[in-house]
Assembly symmetry: C2
Homo-oligomer: 503 residues x 2
Amino acid sequence: MSGRIAHAGLAALRMDADHAAALIAPGMTVGMSGFTGAGYPKAVPLALATRISDAHERGEPFRLRVLTGASTAPELDGALARAGGIDFRLPYQSDPELRARINRGEIEYMDLHLGHVAQYALFGFLGRIDVAIIEATAILADGRLLPSTSIGNNKTWLDLADKVIVEVNQRQPLGLDGMHDIYYGTAMPPDRKPIPLLHPGDRIGEPYLRVDPAKIVAVVETDAPDRIGRFSPPDDVSKRIAAHLVEFFRHEIRVGRLSERLLPLQSGVGNIANAVLAGLREGGFRGLNAFTEVIQDGMLDLLADGTLEMASATSFSLSPEGVDEFVRNIERYRNRIVLRPQEMSNHGELIRRLGCIAMNGMVEADLYGNVNSTHVAGSSIINGIGGSGDFARNGFLSCFMTPSTAKGGAISAIVPMVSHVDHTEHDVAVVVTEQGLADLRGLSPKQRARAIIAHCVHPDYRPMLADYFERACRDSFGKHTPHLLPEALSWHQRYLNTGSMRA
Amino acid sequence: MSGRIAHAGLAALRMDADHAAALIAPGMTVGMSGFTGAGYPKAVPLALATRISDAHERGEPFRLRVLTGASTAPELDGALARAGGIDFRLPYQSDPELRARINRGEIEYMDLHLGHVAQYALFGFLGRIDVAIIEATAILADGRLLPSTSIGNNKTWLDLADKVIVEVNQRQPLGLDGMHDIYYGTAMPPDRKPIPLLHPGDRIGEPYLRVDPAKIVAVVETDAPDRIGRFSPPDDVSKRIAAHLVEFFRHEIRVGRLSERLLPLQSGVGNIANAVLAGLREGGFRGLNAFTEVIQDGMLDLLADGTLEMASATSFSLSPEGVDEFVRNIERYRNRIVLRPQEMSNHGELIRRLGCIAMNGMVEADLYGNVNSTHVAGSSIINGIGGSGDFARNGFLSCFMTPSTAKGGAISAIVPMVSHVDHTEHDVAVVVTEQGLADLRGLSPKQRARAIIAHCVHPDYRPMLADYFERACRDSFGKHTPHLLPEALSWHQRYLNTGSMRA
């Protein structure tokens, strides 16, 4: 196993996770690897959670600031949260235990565009990074790291942290070698240069992560899989959403605004996203590209059959079956997948240049096309904005998708006014539910409202929404974006009071 | 005067404004020059307004879709709105008559990031452009146009419109020749390349606007000044806002996050922006750069005395005195000012690469750092988002400034929840009022709320806001972004009901 640690000095730093965790002190800021449940450290955070629990039992405070790429897994966010060890967290999370504590007000969480994290750290806006804990597939003879199944912010944590702990996970396939592309041309303004990427598959950097071996204080060997659940096959609602979107793309091709090969796809994570990918395959699309954050099972399928020519991302998010397929056919995928730092996968400059088609899920949209991606009832966070803003603002097209209702119909995903805004009216081009698709491009607020009422809202809520809009058009203070302020958020409050948004 | 029309074929197309206006038919989409009251056509829109009024008197419908660079003047937006001739307008406006009609629901208005307009038109999202009406300083022998005091979207309207009407305004100084930089390297994705601009003063294009002479259907000679009012000297509140911001910059220099030369400044229009520029000069800053939208009087002063080395913008917005100073010393300014299409002045790729310091006014901010730049009471539009989103999202620092109260104290600019969101919590780094400055970088929502309450809110409203926050922290459904939905917008409704937000 130490064959994966080819640097003699670093091999000498091998220790168990407990000893590595002992190098981390209360109050530190720790930058961890991990993006969408892939490539996160498997052992040290668990040992750290134990260390923290022990300290708390002795009555000693022990909390950390935890920065990652995006979401991780129960062994990291779950364990540290349960131990009461997280003081502050950014930039994205999806762990139930962590989320519950954030929403109880016990943990401070900052929700940040995934494409902005690295530069904010570099600018000094996030404070000093004391320790980086980074999973790697192997350590090369010169000390560089062969990355594992995600890159996320690893380059940045390795560059900025005072000390580095590397977890070498022998479960990660060595066949990943050559799939990564780490761009080292970034700089602080005013010394920045254009990023020389012109196509999703371009390689503009190096396959390995640089790190000063003198900063490495521990190397921990692990043998554990990424923890990613199975995806359920697309349900009928997801398929209908996908069908509306594919039909829209067909229309855009007919009128000459898109070519048959579309433009690079960005696709969020989850069942609707997988359904859209499946819909493109079934719709006969070929030779497409993806410039996105995450490679899911659905994307592997499309790479396998030629629907997708090339996929660029910062992470895999594969089910156990997806991992098997990937490892079995890794040579087939090698030249068609590029993993980049999230600083690049989510870089506004690249997303705009390439003209990505952004397709993201959402919590709710309002009459005027404002989108809430993060909050329930304006106050309770779900996961975070992730990269949706990077792509929605900078892409060629920004599409937001959701079933028209949730909780068995008790919640309408189309409301008079969203309870939290993550994407403003200025950044939302297309809203899709299983009911239909509203094309908001080039429309004023009231024109958007009519399109959304006609196409997106569930029939059970359509009369309520149409009634609100009609009364707002009559009684609103201003008639540009008609609203009745005492009622604007009343659907959410009714849900909190009665368990349903229905009147 | 025809000395300004060096192309013989085009000189033959000279006609008066009435004849030119007669070329425009009901229902057309017209792309006009004009940005912040500069470089707009002076004669044809007025003639068009008369033509429209005459048609309406005959009972004939006559309405247009009017697209511009940004705001224009009474002779354009005011006259056409008063004639009832505008059906749809984008992307920015500030004319009182037009605004009133938008807010009465008579005119549809789409408020768009100024840096997105050109590409949306190119993508086909704004429909066909029938006619462009563009003010120029002169027409060259080969038919190219020497632009006037703004560029805005002129390149795009000239490229896309079926027909072109040029107004040659002899009041615009010929000395502008050489100040413009029109970049012709843009393309549709997937054929886009990096934009080769590395410093605010770089010239990457040509000094003249290309236009196919065969598309030009009329040339109208005018002799009229841009209509820009005088700026009042900075008042005490503006000076205090500026002082907080300058002190913050000094702090950032001390801790090493900014150099003495700062980074390229983007500065909104108006008295606070002018006060900040004056504060930088008085603070002894030297050798700064501006990469911004508009060159105001305050910026000329800084160029004159060396505070500013170079300024890049898309428009002048000078008072009559500023115009005199500019024309008198035009040779001194020539090499230190570059005017670009707004597609470039507001391009996210360039703003992020250069690391602009974004400083924009706002209507209101809320506890959590969400910013409303456009709406009163969530429904009534003031002007528009302009370029504030281009710079806030992509800049090195995004600062929003406002007096802490308006209407003699009846309105607090810091509220529990903004009534409209133009800049989300993810995009706002610094909030400044005359009360103080809240540095929101790296903070969770509740940490931001405490900073904003401590530093920004007016003392008259501080107890109310602190009380809301405290009760929300106790009673909110979720404690990540604590809110009491029935109260969240109650300050605005109280203002509508009673004329004051005070309880």
